[in-house]
């Protein structure tokens, strides 16, 4: 393949940064019909998984619905926080899925991110309806599974919590981008070769994505540490840390005291 071309694109991308930074979600209209449908088909079972999980839990404890809704809103708001991208003098934003999956688990995270993605498509021109399936796969499914499994794994390996949170945030961000690049390349290669395009897209994302992933890792770790310092009991209640009190989620929270 043409190395020079890749180098050129490498140089060119930062110029087009405001848009590549947004390219974390596949924009409306890019995916051809058959790909759009395929990704929908992949995404739907996972969303259904989240819904089933939630239905079961909220039948047992009604508190779960407001809880998931609120954490979803929080993660959505955090994912809208502008991040200065030092190399480009521009702004991007974190995905938030890594953090969400640490807090509420991968199933709920898929559910919540499908809603967040629809809201972004409708009101922020960010992602789209036809590409919703693809975006759920890359951000919701890949991102949350990566974040959750890395957090669990590294915790078990004995890493301190902040380190695990950092890795989970960073790697889930990168995994999301890798999946997005794959989806884009497979849909767009047309007559050209797909690996070539994949490399090009991958390389062109690198200069922004590497720092963004690190940033996301730092923010995830920061959020985690903040909660651990301020209200460690909450992490136990959410099941993030090993429970020291044997109680259901909301009963742990002092505010509701002795719920009947």
């Amino acid at each position: 393949m043409n190395i020079k071309k890749s180098i050129f694109i490498f140089l060119l991308m930062p110029l087009a940064l405001p848009s590549t930074a947004q390219a974390m979600h596949i924009s409306e209209g890019i995916l051809p019909t058959q790909w759009a449908l395929l990704w929908y088909a992949v995404a739907i079972p996972f969303v259904a998984w989240g819904l089933r999980d939630l239905r079961i839990k909220s039948a047992r404890e009604p508190f779960f619905k407001p809880m998931v809704g609120l954490i979803g809103a929080a993660v959505f708001v955090i994912s809208c926080m502008p991040i200065p991208v030092p190399m480009a003098g521009s702004c991007s934003h974190p995905c938030g899925t890594g953090m969400a999956s640490i807090l509420i688990g991968p199933a709920m995270t898929v559910l919540v991110s499908s809603i967040a993605l629809l809201l972004q498509a409708l009101f922020l021109s960010h992602g789209g309806l036809t590409t919703l399936g693809g975006n759920i796969v890359s951000m919701g499914i890949v991102g949350s599974l990566a974040g959750w499994s890395i957090f669990r794994l590294t915790r078990r390996l004995g890493l301190p919590a902040w380190g695990s949170a950092f890795l989970a945030g960073m790697l889930s961000d990168w995994a999301t981008y890798a999946a997005t690049s794959l989806e884009l390349a497979s849909a767009l290669h047309g007559t050209g070769s797909m690996p070539k395009l994949l490399t090009a897209i991958g390389i062109s994302f690198l200069p922004t994505q590497l720092p963004l992933g690190i940033f996301e890792g730092i923010v995830t770790a920061g959020v985690y540490c903040f909660i651990a310092a301020r209200r460690p009991s909450l992490l136990e209640c959410l099941g993030v840390e090993r429970k020291r009190c044997a109680c259901e989620l909301c009963e742990c929270e002092p505010k509701t005291g002795g719920v009947q």
Partner: protein, 261 residues
């Protein structure tokens, strides 16, 4: 942050106009069909016509031009990148060649064509969404999705998320400003750690809010199901709109197929 709440707010979707009065299911179905037609269209002409039509209508119903530009600028950028990417990476017939930074760049004819098509689809698709969201408040979109068969639990969570996003956005703005006046963003390192704190505050507050919202819901009879409102039954007018637009769209697509393939 304020930019975001402005973009995000459905303030304009609540204004009264002919489009806002149409049933959201109808609008959703028509918008989805137009979207399908846009990604199916073999030529950039149709998506571009949709762009012009949608933007014209959005301007006509009084959306500020600044807001329209804000919503369209990022997709336009993506469209531009797509165009360049496609022209250089696919196809074989050279169209233009020019030297840059010491090596030759080749734009191919086929690549240029597919690039234009894709770019038009992106901008076309986005402007359909722009129009839809400027005449339909979010909760009506959710209700429409519900009556088109989306899971009720999904819609319940969507409604809650939508409502509390604004509360948390306000909070984020307040915390960020409080940090700014204490110089929390005076350099990059401090900025990053302050941002982590904002995230933490938002999550904590969300959990507290969930506890309180749950209490408030319980005293109003909540037992695990959030009841949803119903949309009024579809009128004849809606049937006409849907069949009419299906008719027109398929007509356009068939003629484009005949003319351009």
């Amino acid at each position: 942050m304020s930019l975001l709440s402005e973009l995000f707010s459905d303030l304009f979707a609540r204004q009264d106009n002919a489009l806002a009065r149409i049933d959201p299911r109808t609008k959703l179905i028509v918008a989805l069909s137009i979207l399908a037609a846009v990604i199916y269209s073999p030529t950039p002409v149709f998506p571009l016509a949709i762009v012009i039509a949608c933007v014209a209508v959005t301007v006509a119903i009084g959306l500020p031009c600044r807001l329209i530009a804000l919503r369209l600028i990022a997709p336009m950028g993506i469209a531009g990148v797509l165009l360049v990417l496609q022209s250089m990476f696919s196809g074989s017939t050279p169209l233009w060649k020019f030297p840059a930074f010491g090596f030759d760049l080749t734009f191919t004819r086929e690549g240029w064509h597919t690039g234009c098509l894709m770019a038009a689809r992106v901008v076309g698709g986005v402007s359909v969404m722009l129009l839809l969201s400027s005449v339909t408040p979010a909760h009506r979109v959710f209700l429409a999705l519900r009556s088109l068969g989306i899971s009720k639990t999904w819609v319940e969570i969507a409604m809650l998320m939508y409502r509390y996003t604004f509360v948390l956005l306000d909070l984020t703005a307040d915390v960020t400003e409080a940090q700014r006046v204490r110089l929390g963003y005076s350099n990059l390192r401090r900025g990053i750690s302050s941002a982590g704190v904002v995230g933490g505050v938002v999550v904590l507050r969300a959990i507290d809010q969930a506890v309180r919202t749950n209490e408030a819901m319980r005293v109003r009879g909540y037992k695990g199901e959030i009841p949803l409102g119903l949309l009024p039954p579809l009128a004849w007018r809606d049937a006409w709109i849907i069949t009419g637009s299906a008719f027109v769209l398929s007509g356009i697509l068939i003629s484009l197929e005949v003319l351009f393939r």
